[in-house]
Point group: C2
Chain length 165, copies 2
């Protein structure tokens, strides 16, 4: 499988996003098949909406997007939240706590907490995979059993700094 390595700062660079999207959706499909899970219509729709960009989206933005396409069916919040819950659980998306928002994962299926650089100008988010070992070691030395870690760094990305702020 070629082209699978995605560098962390992909969101901050020009890239063939169509291809990126296709690959990630395909990865999700395979992952669900392997795990014998159902990537149902709603789940796939929500994932596709998130895959359309490397920007975090609020649940209600996703909802609006779902309701935009067809002018017939209107869908209610629980539909979206349930799909998000599933996708989070399988490591296909992440939640950005500091924004109450959700974003597609660029390393689908890796459960271990990622780290995010969030540009406050353009709102793009880079997903890093440092092993924040220093901190985890410190937790360990205090006898603290780590479940999950949230690391979200806000600032201004290189691109936006060029545009003079």
């Amino acid at each position: 499988m070629s082209g699978k390595q995605r560098h962390p700062e992909i969101a901050f660079r020009k890239h063939d996003h169509r291809r990126c999207q296709r690959q990630l959706l395909s990865a999700a499909t395979h992952l669900c098949a392997e795990r014998k899970l159902r990537l149902t219509l709603r789940r796939r729709q929500v994932l596709e909406i998130l895959l359309a960009s490397h920007q975090p989206m609020g649940a209600y933005d996703i909802l609006a997007e779902l309701n935009r396409s067809d002018d017939k069916e209107r869908v209610a919040p629980p539909i979206v939240y349930r799909a998000l819950e599933f996708l989070l659980g399988e490591g296909l998306i992440h939640r950005i706590e500091s924004r109450n928002a959700f974003i597609s994962c660029i390393h689908p299926g890796h459960h271990r907490g990622a780290q995010f650089l969030i540009c406050r100008d353009c709102d793009r988010v880079a997903e890093l995979e440092s092993n924040d070992s220093g901190l985890l070691a410190e937790a360990d030395s205090l006898g603290f059993a780590v479940d999950h870690s949230v690391v979200e760094i806000t600032g201004v990305c290189a691109e936006c700094q060029k545009h003079d702020r």
Copy 2:
């Protein structure tokens, strides 16, 4: 000034909390005086409520607490949110993003982002002060200008692990 050093895991240990509280309130008072800021009634009340424990509290919990004491005056959400905003701005409290909650800072006035260990059993929160230099270095190498960092690690504290879960 004696007894000023507070170790990070203080929340997870028995300690003279009355004293801890008194010192932190006094530190806040001095800090506001130095900075020529007003630690008004509402601000002090909210800070005191947060200082009463090392546990994060939601804005509406704080509100309820404010409204409990006197049975006369009822205060509305903006009062609380404004006080919280001030206290956050001066580094007297922190926001725990993953819980939509607020907690008193054990190193008042230090603005740089702290790191938190959050016990999901007892809800106590330890405030660390690692320099998560690895991550910041990585941000830097991507040309990303860091503003603020959120680091929240959820798990089970040593104490709660003893109680067999």
